[in-house]
Amino acid sequence: MSSINRSKTKTPMPAQDPKKRSKNFDEVALGYTEEDAVNEARRCLNCKKPTCMEGCPVQVQIPRFIKHIAEKDFQSAINVIKETNSLPAVCGRVCPQEEQCEQKCILNKMGDSVGIGRLERFAADWERKQGIKAPKQTSQTNKKVAIIGSGPAGLTCAGDLVKLGYEVTVFEAFHEPGGVLIYGIPEFRLPKAIVKQEVEFIEKLGVQVKTDMVMGKVLTVDDVFQMGYDAVFIGTGAGLPKFMKIPGENYLGVYSANEFLTRINLMKAYSFPKTDTPVKVGKKVAVVGGGNVAMDSARCALRMGAEEVYIIYRRSEEEMPARKEESEHAKEEGIIFNFLTNPTRIIGDDKGWVKGIECIQMQLGEPDASGRRRPVPIEGSEFILDMDTVVIAIGTGPNPLLTKATEGLDLNKYGYIDTDENGKTSKEGVWAGGDIVTGSATVILAMGAGKKAAQSIHEYLQTK
């Protein structure tokens, strides 16, 4: 039997050296060895009332799977995780565990929590190395469900429904399924081979994935019903880029983070000219924003050959919404952080190329609606930073392409889809979940929404 490991700190995660990795797109965190994993698993106290599980949006049976790892029964560990989480290799890498399960871990009071995310990733990676076998689906219901959008919400909903015996088709606008996991989160944080494998897994379960399908244009939701589908799930994400509406935003060399990341990740601009899509990354790059998207953009810019990369964020480090691990990694790699700084205008040359960004210094005032202290500009503190490229990563909104083309679908005042707690919308037979309902959130919350909706669709179709 395994004995308890009383170390107060997490077993370190092997990682690529910052100097080396800032020049390549290979994965940064290398993953635990079997020995690391067993060691870390032995730190878990296997609490009677595991508080960690309260922090997990999909209720992974955390102590149970960790116990299996401690006992070197990795197959059982992954089986336990997969009872409730269909994308563990993804979640183990990108979930904000420090705000979820790990925050609630009892060990947090005495040192580091158990490295739950790292163990989840280990179990999933172990399984992948063995070759994943997709279970044969036996039950058949002869009812059809259409899923619009193939991000974590759509993929999870599709996976759950196919397991319940439905005929499931996923309609994706891009040429590759995966949503943000493919076009947004970079290779060095989430290798695309992993996402592909997750998609292949649900395809093996029987889900049909149709790419190049811009729904609302090529087919409407009503067309889908007419084609014989009995229910529809909308998981189209929050993909509409926001700009700052400051002068100079249309200069050459100014990108939305969506465009910058899509060119690099989905279109593989890092292999240009071997691949055909280019991206312009100058010597000096400014990324405006403080979330994961900003960190990803900054770290991509560095890997594309930028010499100096700046994060420009209007609040202070404490308020920064990016995952701690990501901002730490960014710092190690040499990204320069300008906190309490807000752009006021972008400056261009006579050919229309960016040459600088004017910013104003901010200070923190009273708390705002989000509870964070509101940044207010310090009058007369404007200054100019020379830049060749500017990436705007200040958030996204709901894309109206599909929702506008769908009659009878209620939206809230921001344009997100209104649903009940199970994801049911105002339109008969239509569910929605993920970022298109909540606004930009997390992979795991999108998955949770896909799961709930699948259950609710199942109940609805049983009575139909």
């Binding site: 249309n250 050459l252 465009e259």
Partner: protein, 280 residues
């Protein structure tokens, strides 16, 4: 995969493909475009729908070999396949209660002009057209345009066919003669649309243009296609590609189109140079 059913060489560097894409054809309307990708690793490029046949389930596109992707596209034949063919994208154009319309197409712009004039013609609108190109051999779709126009003027920059000079010269003459139109449509290189809209402006005739900025997704998710129209930023792929020409900031559009100039050259050099080197 989307099959190329037919290939026609309209001019030395201008090709026309008929593509098998039944779902796209079912919804296509004049003014819309598609995005295609030739193969894995390829670029996504937008092309305006030049014609469509709902019955046969086909879309016609016309392109000029200018960049690496269009050059590669030009090597494909009937029977070959495209990896991706996405659409119909963008807004369809609407014409209400028009009686008389003038359509102007320059160079490759004649292709996207055609479905609009065809629709107007079918609605019984009186159509005048002016089409032009650098020289006679680069003039495309002359017969198609004539078939949907009550009157057609032809211009070439070098005088090798029709009037010697730009299409805008004829436009100016018609307006100076006192011709009246409910709307004027100008499609072609940005500089042509800029000059054309400057000519129509004093006459206060609504003038529609169709813009061709750089695009990636074509669904409004990247903002790469942004253009300034009436002082506001618009995404051409979802708000356009047709806009009120009197409000478009053409200078900005022309600058933004230069973004990847040097990369385009690298890609073409590699494409053409690479082709030769394998035989050495």
């Amino acid at each position: 995969m989307y099959k190329i059913l037919e290939r026609k060489d309209l001019a030395p560097s201008i090709k026309q493909f008929v593509i098998d894409a039944p779902l796209v054809a079912k919804k296509a309307q004049p003014g819309q475009f598609i995005i295609l990708r030739i193969r894995e690793g390829g670029e996504r490029i937008p092309l305006t729908i030049a014609d469509y046949d709902t019955q046969k389930g086909t879309i016609t596109v016309v392109f000029q070999e200018v960049g690496k992707t269009t050059k590669e596209l030009g090597t494909l034949k009937a029977g070959d396949h495209l990896a991706d063919f996405v659409g119909p994208l963008g807004q369809a154009v609407q014409f209400e209660n028009h009686k008389k319309v003038l359509g102007i197409g320059g160079g490759l712009g004649v292709a996207p002009l055609y479905p609009k004039l065809k629709m107007l013609h079918q609605k019984g609108v009186e159509v005048t057209s002016i089409i032009g190109a650098k020289s006679a051999d680069l003039l495309i779709m002359e017969n198609e345009i004539k078939a949907v126009s009550n009157k057609t003027y032809i211009c070439t920059d070098d005088g090798s066919k029709g009037r010697h000079g730009f299409v805008t010269v004829v436009l100016k003459e018609l307006l100076e003669k006192g011709e009246k139109y409910d709307e004027i449509i100008i499609i072609g290189p940005p500089i042509l649309m800029k000059i054309g809209t400057e000519i129509t402006k004093p006459y206060d005739i609504p003038t529609m243009v169709s813009l061709n900025p750089i695009m990636v997704d074509g669904t409004g998710m990247c903002g790469g296609c942004r253009v300034t129209v009436g002082g506001e930023t618009k995404f051409a792929c979802v708000d356009g590609p047709a806009f009120d020409g009197h409000k478009v900031d053409f200078d900005e559009l022309m600058k933004r189109l230069q973004t990847y100039k040097s990369e385009e050259k690298t890609a073409i050099d590699k494409h053409e140079g690479g082709g030769c080197r394998c035989h050495q």
